[in-house]
Symmetry: C2
Subunit: 343 residues, 2 copies
Amino acid sequence: MSRTEVKDYGEFGLIHHLTKNIELQNASSVLGVGDDAAVIDHFGKQTVVSTDMLIEGVHFDLSYTPLKHLGYKSVIVNLSDIYAMNATPTQILLSVGFSSRFSVEAIEEFYEGVYAACEEHGVDLIGGDTSSSQKGFIISITAIGEATPEQIVKRSTAQKGDLICVSGDLGGAYIGLLFLEREKRIYLESPGVQPDLENETYVIGRLLKPNARKDIHELLEEKGIIPTSMMDISDGLSSELLHICENSAVGCVIYEEKLPVSEESRKAAYKFEIDPTACALSGGEDYELLFTIKQEDYEKVTLNEKISVIGYVTEAGEGAKIKTKGGNTYNITAQGWNAFKEG
Amino acid sequence: MSRTEVKDYGEFGLIHHLTKNIELQNASSVLGVGDDAAVIDHFGKQTVVSTDMLIEGVHFDLSYTPLKHLGYKSVIVNLSDIYAMNATPTQILLSVGFSSRFSVEAIEEFYEGVYAACEEHGVDLIGGDTSSSQKGFIISITAIGEATPEQIVKRSTAQKGDLICVSGDLGGAYIGLLFLEREKRIYLESPGVQPDLENETYVIGRLLKPNARKDIHELLEEKGIIPTSMMDISDGLSSELLHICENSAVGCVIYEEKLPVSEESRKAAYKFEIDPTACALSGGEDYELLFTIKQEDYEKVTLNEKISVIGYVTEAGEGAKIKTKGGNTYNITAQGWNAFKEG
C-alpha cells in the first residue's frame, strides 16, 4: 500500500482532499466546510449541541482499533448524546490532530468510518480542523441536532413512580475490551501467537462498532412516548443512574434480574471469571439509552424486545438501590470509567 | 500556592467545579452545561458554527504563554471566525485534555481567561468535555453564532471592482512571537538572565492577547455595510487573500504603502532586521478582519481609523498582485504558517 505524507498536501489541501465529496443532506445545512464557520438554519426548532474529545492512549488504543472503526465510533459517541436528548442529529464538526506517524492513507481510513456513520444517521459533516500533534491521534467532535422544545428530554426531570428503562443490552463493550487487552498482552509477550477472538465477535463488535440508538429514538416518537428523563450509557449504568438521581433529586430501585445482558456477554464474562451483572452496572461504552417513562406508558414499551424495564424511580431520601437475584439490597455506587482515577 | 490534583475532583467533579458559576446571557441559550447536549433556540435566524483545535507544542508554547492568556486567546480565535461570517457569537463549547502535569489551579487559571473572553463578547459557555491526555495541553472549542440569512458573508462572493479592506494593523503578533522565541532561547542558554521585553509590550500583547473584532462587526452594521466577502486573518494576509481570490474566482491588487503596520511593529521588526511588510503579509495570528466592499461603500469606511483600504478586486486572470513602494509588481504567494510544513 502506498504511503502519502501529510505534508505533501498541506493543511488546506488535506481538508479539501478529505471533504471534497461531501453532499449536504439536511435542508438546515446552509453552508458546510470551507468558510470561517458553517451555517445552520432552524425555524421554530431548537438546536441541540454536544462535544467530545477522544485522545489516543486515553480513550482508544490503536494497536487493536482499526482507524475506520475509530472514525465510525467517534461520530457515534457524539450522535448518541444527541439521541439522548430525544433530538435528531443533523450536523457534525470534526477536528483531528495527528503526528507524522500517520499517513494520508491512514487519515483517509479514519474519515471513511466518519462518513459511514454520518451516512447511516443522515448527518452532515459541515466543518472542522486538521492539525499536527506532537504525539498521537486526537479527535474532537461537536454534534448538532434539532428538536421541538416539547421533544427535548433532560436528565433532571425524572419523577417518583416513573419506570426506568434501558435499550439493548449492557456490559458487552467492557468485556470486549477485556478480550482485546488480553490479546494485546499475549501479542506483546509472544508476537508469533495469532489472536483467538473468533468466538467473541459480539462483545468485540460492541466495543469497536457501537450503535447510536436512532431506532429507539424513532420508536419512542412512533409510540408517542416522551421519556421523563434520558441519557446515554457511556460510563456505565451505575454512574448514569446516579446522574439522573442527583439531577432529578430522586432515588431509584433497579432489579438485577431485569438487567439486559446478552448470552454472548454472559458466557464471555465467565471466561474472565467476572460477574456479568458487575459488567452491566460498571462497564462503559455500550452507548445504550437509559430513560424513565411515566407508568401509563408501560404498555407501550413492555412488548418491545429492544427495551427493558429495570426498575422505578423513588424519593431522593431512599437513595439509589439494586435488588439482587439473591434478595439482597445494595446501594448503587459509581464505578464507571474515570480517566483521571486510573492515572 | 496550593496544588490540588485533578484526580481529587474526578472528571464530573472538575467540570462542575469549573462551570458552576456560569450564568447564561443569551436568550437563545436554553440549556447549558450538565446534560448530554446543550440546547440553542433560534427563530428565523441562522446558526453559524466553527471549531478549532489547539495543541501544546504545535499552536502554543506554555513556557511563555500564561494559562489565563491561553484560555482567553483560545476563545478569541474561535469568536473571530464567527465575526468573519458577519455573525454575532452567542455560545461556545469547550473541550480540554491535559496531563497530570497540570493542577486544578492551573486549569482554573485557563478557565479564568476563557470566562474573561466570554464575558467581553457576551458569549455563553454551554458545554464541553474534560479529559486526561498522555502528553500536554489540548484545547478544542466550537463557537456558535447567529445572523439573519442576509447578513451572512462568505469567502466566495467577492466581485471585480470591490475594495479590499483590513481592520487594525498587521504583523504585530508574528514579531511578538519572534521576541518571545528569542527570550526563550536566551533563557534556556543562561537561565539567570532576566527577559528584556519591556519595550515590546505592544507586539507581545498582539500575540498573547489578540482581539476578536466585535467592534468592526458592530461598525459595519451601524454603517449599513454588508461586505461582499470576509474572513479573519489567522494564517497571514497573503494566505487569506489567496483564499478569497480562489473561492470567489477573482484576482486582486494590493498596495504595500497601504498595508497597516503599527509604529511599534515597524520598529520591532527592524530590531530583527526583517521587513515589516513581509511580517504584515505572512505573519499570522493577528485575528484582524479582511473583507471586500462595494465601491459605493468607500465613503463609509474611509474616515474610520480602524479600517484600511489596501487594494481592489480584479478578474481571476490577472492573478493576485502586490505593488511595492518602489513601483514593482509581484505575485502574492502564501507563506502563512503551516503547521505541517514545519514538521
